[in-house]
Amino acid sequence: MNIQIKSGALQQVLALASLVVLIVFFTISSSNFFQFSNIVGILLSTAVIGVLALGSTFVIITGGIDLSVGTVMTLSGVMTGVCITFWGLPVPVGILGGILMGALCGLLSGTAVAKMKIPPFIATLAMMMIAKGLALIISGAKPVYFNDAESFAEVSQGSVLGWLIPGLDIPNAVVIFFVAAIVGYLILSKTIIGRYNFALGSNEEATRLSGVNVGFWKIVIYTLTGAFTGLAGVMMASRLNSANPALGAGYELEAIAAVVIGGTSLSGGKGTIIGTVIGALIMSVLTNGLRILSVPQEWQTVVVGFVIILAVYADILRRRKA
């Protein structure tokens, strides 16, 4: 009866089906694939990109794009390092510092887009450079290590689940990813931010003429994306036990790819969090599986490129039929 939910659900079913097909294919092709440790490895490698992609979903639904998430993630990780290692602040404060840094970058991008009317592509391209430079500046152009705060590594690498249920040694990063996905889902589908996000992504002018302060809400949305990016930065730093200011560029494109594979439209107004989670999983299952099948790194990248085209094309075909 419910047309909209029906077509949205179909889209997720399709993405999910492709994920299952991939998993079945790799399981048949190699006995090493469907092992607990490998699955955990896949999830772990999804976590950081996944959180980035979750954040990017919001901005992309507005019809915008955030090219800065890669380097902002780095800057956030470095910020956490500066707080904990340089300033000797407690770990939770450092984590908060990283997330706030991400949010601040989002706030700036959002202000440039919403108030100064700079196209999102340009505004976030500029933010990408600003964040890259700042990361180098505040770190002194060297990786920041967390040797003095051992508990920081636990943020990503520890396993609260394993501690609660012995044997279930799933790293915290994975848990954080799924919790972030649930939070993202709630924001997008149950709160006013989500409602305005879809409305202004579909028809910004009509939304503005309905009395919605679209400038303000756009800033909110970019800031939200920034906060997710900051979280990804903290997770990344914790996983590597260091914050490397030279890492991070290029992650934004992988995040965007995951969002797009998940069925979110780059022209705005359409998208789901579940789709993005599946999109991110498809990407890492693919790379992991291909690696297990000993496909060289270069070819893995080529395959991922084709998968993006296929996924988006399937979505377009589906839309045309509907």
């Binding site: 009866m1 006013i192 931010i193 009509a206 939304t207 009395g211 919605v212 303000f216 107004g269 359409k270």
Partner: protein, 499 residues
């Protein structure tokens, strides 16, 4: 009578949850103008979209020039000589007028690699000449008013040398003079043997320009009659199958009511010049004028949608400055745009989201969570109250018929419960039955003490509804009339005062 050009029989079309057409028929002869009438959502546009290959029929046959045809896409229909001017404009805003008209068929030269702009402009000029249209083919479509864009659509359809031309509410955005131009073109095409399908809700136009009328109701064929042989009342009763609300002239606004809105010395470039007026509580203030007189600009300026250069706006006696529509809405102003597809509703969202989009703060649980139960209830109430034809409130607005989309936008502002409502062409594309519902609604709102500004190009509507009438011409207010002294003549006189 002349030869039958087109015959549609037993046409059935179902959309998910909606039986849009049920065993419908339609016949068109060479050299006739054939009106298709019916309430909003009766299936007129759908019928014609099936003819022109936009939608595929589930059942039925189409016979064209004596042969059964299957037109599976708009291109096939166009090649066969069937063109349609859609209810919604379909132009590429960033291209020029000429580029839009010949899109996909641009004249080319030198191995067909290079565009031949000269030939393009020559052809477009010839076309405009035939239409008696004075427009620069090199101007960007986004620069044009809705009315002018409509003329471009017509030119585009004509450029295919069509045998069958379908016009879906072509005059909805046109001014009196432009309608005259259109009718001249239609008469000429009729003389050339073109068959024209004319969809409109305006009875006077139908009476003037059409030869036959086919009436549809709820997706069903009702009757086909000769225009000369029926009265307006006959048609209306065939269309609605029930009695409709008749408005009486409004009572004089009771004495000197308090002023809710005052505008002083408003200026905005060439569009608005030295505009001053007041709006009182419980009043319907009509704004008349020709298309381009600045009425929409005035509405947008009051609503904070466009910046004003100078001037003051007072609400309930205190001066306000608006940074944008969100301030206006907060101050209790609502604005229903004349261009519903672009500015009125978010067509990709469902009915319920559109109904509450201006009022989300009132539909929240603590913490910013949306109250979906309350939203659904509100949307269902509005659908019921405004008789919106939709299978359910989860339907995306783009699947509603034009008139029903308009009702959704009205529902949005009723939901917000504004004190001051600016309605810009509120009955555009709305059928007679629904129109009278809207009139009743406006009267009701005014009686409740809401103040209404109604912009309309339909003089009878302005005369019937308004307590007071402002007439605009070229960005200025050229006169203010009390409802007792206002007549079509006095208004037209003021509306052309400066020309």
């Amino acid at each position: 009578m002349s030869e039958v050009l087109l015959q549609m029989e037993g046409i059935t079309k179902e959309f998910p949850g909606v039986l849009a057409l049920n065993n419908c028929q339609f016949e068109l002869r060479r050299g006739e103008v054939h009106a298709l009438m019916g309430e909003n959502g009766a299936g007129k546009s759908t019928m014609m979209k099936i003819l022109t290959g936009v939608y595929q029929k589930d059942e039925g046959t189409v016979t064209y020039q004596g042969k059964p045809v299957e037109l599976t896409n708009p291109k096939a229909a166009q090649d066969a000589g069937i063109s349609m001017i859609h209810q919604e404009l379909n132009l590429a805003p960033d291209l020029t007028v000429a580029q839009n008209i010949f899109i996909g068929r641009e004249p080319r030269r030198r191995l067909r690699l290079f565009l031949d702009d000269q030939a393009l402009h020559r052809q477009v000029k010839a076309l405009f000449q035939r239409m008696g249209l004075d427009m620069d083919p090199a101007i960007q479509v986004s620069e044009l008013t809705v009315a002018k864009q409509q003329m471009v659509e017509i030119a585009k359809a004509l450029s295919y040398n069509a045998d069958v031309l379908v016009m879906d509410e072509p005059t909805a955005a046109l001014s009196e003079t432009e309608i005259e131009d259109l009718f001249r073109i239609i008469r000429q095409l009729r003389a050339d043997g073109v068959g024209i399908v004319y969809i409109s809700h305006r009875m006077d136009e139908i009476k003037r320009i059409t030869d036959r009328i086919t009436v549809m109701r709820d997706g069903q064929y009702i009757d086909t009659v000769l225009t000369a042989e029926v009265t307006t009342q006959d048609i209306i009763s065939k269309m609605v199958g029930r009695q409709i609300y008749e408005t009486s002239k409004p009572e004089a606004a009771a004495g000197e009511r308090e002023t809710v809105l005052e505008v002083k010395g408003l200026n905005q470039g060439r569009a608005l010049r030295d505009i001053s007026f007041t709006l009182r509580k419980g009043e319907i203030l009509g704004i008349a004028g020709l298309v381009g007189a600045g009425r929409t600009e005035l509405a947008r300026a009051i609503f904070g949608a466009d910046r004003i250069q100078s001037g003051e706006i007072y609400i309930h006696g205190s001066r306000v400055k608006m940074r944008g529509p969100h301030d206006a809405v907060r101050l209790g102003i609502g604005y229903l745009s004349e261009d519903r597809k672009r500015y009125g509703c978010v067509v990709d969202l469902d009915v319920k989201s559109n109904v509450v989009i201006a009022s989300y703060p009132g539909f929240l649980r603590p913490g910013g969570w949306v109250n979906t139960v309350k939203i659904r209830k509100q949307a269902e109430d509005m659908v019921e109250r405004l008789k919106v034809k939709t299978p359910h409130v989860d339907q995306e607005v783009k699947f509603l018929s034009g008139g029903n989309q308009q009702k959704v936008v009205i529902g949005k502002w009723l939901t917000r419960d504004c004190d001051i409502l600016i309605f810009d062409e509120p009955t555009r594309g709305i059928d007679v039955g629904a129109k009278s519902e809207i009139y009743r609604l406006l009267n009701e709102l005014a009686a409740q003490g809401k103040s209404i500004i109604m912009i309309s190009s339909e003089l009878p509507e302005i005369l019937r509804m308004s307590h007071r009438i402002l007439v605009m011409c070229e960005g200025r207010i050229t006169g203010e009339l009390d409802h007792e002294e206002a007549t079509q003549e006095t208004i037209m006189h003021l509306a052309t005062a400066r020309m």
